[in-house]
Symmetry: C2
Subunit: 202 residues, 2 copies
């Protein structure tokens, strides 16, 4: 895939887009973004998803992660997003507000890419193949190093839903251990992909 | 407290009420109900809550626990309760539907008692003193025997909110370990009393 996919899905050529992203986030996070892009493309090949969309979504998923709380909260109000999100902090905001910013600033309008960025930290009770690929690529990209990552990488060679299940369960356990806030959508993802609940409100 | 509190809060005298409850649940659960009643009264004395309401709420909290799924689901539909509850099973139903049954069959109309029964398994993000007392009494009554119950009992001698926190965290961890469904209200209780989130949707 060359320059054409950038022009197709964004308002920029490859070098311009990379420069814009690089200026929005730290070097470490930029490196992570490139790694998620690569991993997402690998997973898209493996599980037969649109490679181009996986590539773009992976690259831009954390575009908004280093914006100020003030900017994020303004975006939430200005776009009439669910205000209960405000209590949950940037870990939750940067997906939802990120989708708005990559549309506005990077010219990305593809609905599937925007959706995958929106739910990349929480998952949802109704994840598309692309949603799952970005969610999982963010978890297992080669720079990640946590107990269990090698198990997740092994599962990702065979069954994407099993990694989603492993990832959401681990995420919830870690949040509980840290007595951290749990966003309702994160729990919806757990209920769907771990506990098998099919009738959910969201 | 003698017979008068039963006549005051229910449609029955003490012996009649006990007989009705005894006929609705197993001997083991009846014994548990009497123990929750005693423990709730002790906690109400300790934390300055209405003793009579604690006594009645403790006694009747599991009144609906052994009804059939069919009856529970019918009650949910007939009373226009949130239908998403249906996916979560009797552990969740018997509080919400229980409040409806104790009103209809036992003549209990006190709003605080009904509320405490409604939320006794999930808690809520806005628990009254009586809600907390029933929630905790159900967890620590003398027949309970699980790792951590002695810690919960010690906390209950001093600080009710600390037991609520301990209980909801342990409940969520156990549900996760078992890959069991987590009802959204259970997570709201966690977010409020463990993670300190104040703005919640419910």
């Amino acid at each position: 895939m060359g320059n054409d996919i950038y022009v197709k899905y964004t308002a920029f050529k490859q070098d311009e887009l990379l420069k814009k992203i690089r200026m929005s986030i730290s070097e470490k996070r930029f490196k992570h973004s490139l790694a998620v892009q690569k991993t997402a493309v690998l997973l898209a090949k493996r599980f037969d998803c649109n490679l181009e969309k996986a590539s773009i979504a992976g690259l831009v998923h954390d575009y908004a992660k280093e914006r100020s709380d003030e900017e994020m909260i303004r975006i939430i109000y200005e776009n009439n997003l669910d205000e209960t999100i405000i209590a949950f902090g940037n870990n939750i905001w940067h997906g939802v507000a990120g989708a708005i910013l990559i549309k506005k600033e990077l010219g990305i309008i593809d609905a599937k890419i925007l959706q995958a960025v929106t739910v990349h930290t929480t998952g949802s009770s109704n994840m598309s193949l692309l949603d799952k690929i970005i969610y999982v690529a963010d978890f297992i990209e080669p720079n990640r190093n946590f107990p269990g990552v090698s198990k997740a990488r092994k599962l990702a060679k065979v069954n994407l839903d099993k990694v989603v299940k492993y990832e959401i369960k681990r995420t919830l356990l870690r949040l509980l251990e840290n007595e951290a806030k749990i966003y309702p959508k994160t729990m919806d993802t757990y209920n769907k992909y771990v506990a098998g609940v099919n009738q959910l409100s969201t």
